[in-house]
C-alpha cells in the first residue's frame, strides 16, 4: 500500500463521557470510514474509549519547531498569569 492511496490519519479517543478526546496515535486508511474502522480495531480493542475522532494528518497545521523561541519562550517569565499569583478571599474556596 503506497502512501498516496492510504494516507495517514490521526486518531483521538475519548476515554469516558465528559472527558476530552485525546490523541492516541495514527493509522493508514483510504478514506474516513475505513480510517474509523482501523482506529476502532487498533486503538479501542482493550476498552480504551467510547468515542473516536479521525483526522487527516495533512489537515493538521503544526507549529514550526524553529519558531519555538518566538512562540513559547516569552511565556516563561510571566508567573503572574498563573491563578496562584492572586490571593483569593476565603469565601471563594477552591477555584
Amino acid at each position: 500500500m503506497t502512501e498516496n492511496i492510504t494516507p495517514i490519519w490521526e486518531v483521538f479517543i475519548r476515554a469516558r463521557n465528559g472527558n476530552a478526546h485525546r490523541h492516541a496515535g495514527s493509522i493508514h486508511a483510504a478514506d474516513a470510514e475505513m480510517a474509523m474502522q482501523a482506529a476502532r480495531d487498533i486503538y479501542t480493542r482493550r476498552e480504551e474509549g467510547n468515542s473516536l475522532w479521525v483526522v487527516r494528518s495533512s489537515d493538521i497545521h503544526a507549529s514550526d519547531p524553529g519558531d519555538g523561541g518566538m512562540m513559547f519562550d516569552p511565556a516563561a517569565d510571566k508567573i503572574y498569569r498563573h491563578p496562584t499569583f492572586y490571593e483569593l478571599p476565603e469565601d471563594v474556596g477552591n477555584m
Binding site: M1, T6, A29, E33, Q37, A38, R40, D41, I42
Partner: protein, 251 residues
C-alpha cells in the same frame, strides 16, 4: 442433562465459528497492512469467544464429561459439521472479504432472532454475538464496496470471489430434521425467515460495489452431515496439532 438434538445444533454453530476463525487467523502477519492484520485477528478472536461458549454448552448438553477442547480438537474431518462456506480457503483478500460478507450478512439476523431462543445460553450468547457480527458485516461490506468499485484488478477479483463462493451460500438456509425439530421447540431459528434480510443486505452491497448478483444456481451442501470440501482436513491439521501431540496441554 442430555439433549442430543440440541447438542448437534450447538456444535454446528460452534464449528462455523471456529473454522472461520481459524481461516481468518491464517492472515495474521500476512495482511496488506498492520491495520487490516489486526482487524482480521479481532474478528477471529470474536469468533473464538463465540465458539468457546458454544462448545462448553455442547459438552454440558452431551453429558459425557467432555470439555470444550475435547470437542474442538479431538474430532476428525467427517465429524465436523460447519457449513462449507466458512472452510473455503482465504485465496486472496477479495475471497476472504466476500466469504466474511456472505456469512456475516446471514449471522446478523440469525443472532438477532436467536435472542428469543428458549435456551438461555443461546439467547445470552446471541445478545453478545449480535453486536460483534454487526461490526464484522460493516467491515466486510465497506471493503467489498471499495474493492468492487475500485480498480479493474480489484473489481475482477471481487467478481471472481462472488462467482466462486455463491454456490456455498444456499447451505446457510438449509433445514434438516435437527433444525426443524428445534424450531418447533422454540430453541432454534428457521433460516428461511432470514432469507429476505440476507437478500436485501447482499443486493445493496453488491449494487454499491458495482457487482452483479449471480443467477440462481445449484447449491452445494453437505457440511452439516460431515461431507466437506477437500480443504477442511488441511485446516484441521495445524489447528489440532498441539492438542493431538500434547493432549490436555494448557497455558
Amino acid at each position: 442433562m442430555t439433549d442430543n438434538v440440541l447438542y448437534t445444533y450447538v456444535v454446528r454453530l460452534a464449528d462455523d465459528a471456529i473454522i472461520l476463525s481459524q481461516r481468518l487467523s491464517e492472515w495474521c502477519g500476512h495482511a496488506s497492512h498492520i491495520e487490516e492484520d489486526v482487524a482480521l485477528s479481532n474478528i477471529a478472536l470474536d469468533l473464538i469467544g463465540q465458539a468457546r461458549i458454544l462448545y462448553s454448552h455442547a459438552a454440558r448438553l452431551e453429558g459425557k464429561g467432555r470439555t470444550e477442547d475435547d470437542i474442538c480438537f479431538f474430532r476428525v474431518e467427517r465429524q465436523y459439521t460447519n457449513c462449507l462456506l466458512v472452510e473455503q480457503p482465504n485465496a486472496d483478500f477479495a475471497v476472504t472479504i466476500t466469504r466474511q460478507l456472505f456469512f456475516s450478512a446471514f449471522m446478523l439476523p440469525f443472532w438477532t432472532a436467536l435472542k428469543s431462543s428458549g435456551d438461555v445460553i443461546l439467547s445470552g450468547l446471541a445478545a453478545k454475538a449480535e453486536k460483534e457480527v454487526a461490526y464484522h458485516l460493516r467491515h466486510s461490506s465497506e471493503w467489498f464496496i471499495r474493492l468492487g468499485d475500485g480498480t479493474p484488478e480489484s473489481h475482477s477479483r471481487i467478481e471472481a470471489a462472488v462467482d466462486g463462493l455463491w454456490m456455498y451460500t444456499g447451505e446457510l438456509f438449509d433445514v434438516d430434521e435437527i433444525t426443524a425439530g428445534l424450531v418447533k421447540r422454540g430453541l432454534a431459528i428457521d433460516p428461511e425467515t432470514l432469507r429476505s434480510e440476507w437478500n436485501e443486505t447482499i443486493n445493496a452491497v453488491l449494487a454499491r460495489a458495482t457487482i452483479s448478483r449471480p443467477d440462481d444456481c445449484w447449491m452445494q451442501i453437505g457440511g452439516r452431515s460431515g461431507e466437506h470440501t477437500e480443504h477442511l482436513g488441511h485446516l484441521l491439521s495445524p489447528m489440532q496439532y498441539l492438542q493431538r501431540s500434547y493432549p490436555g496441554e494448557t497455558w
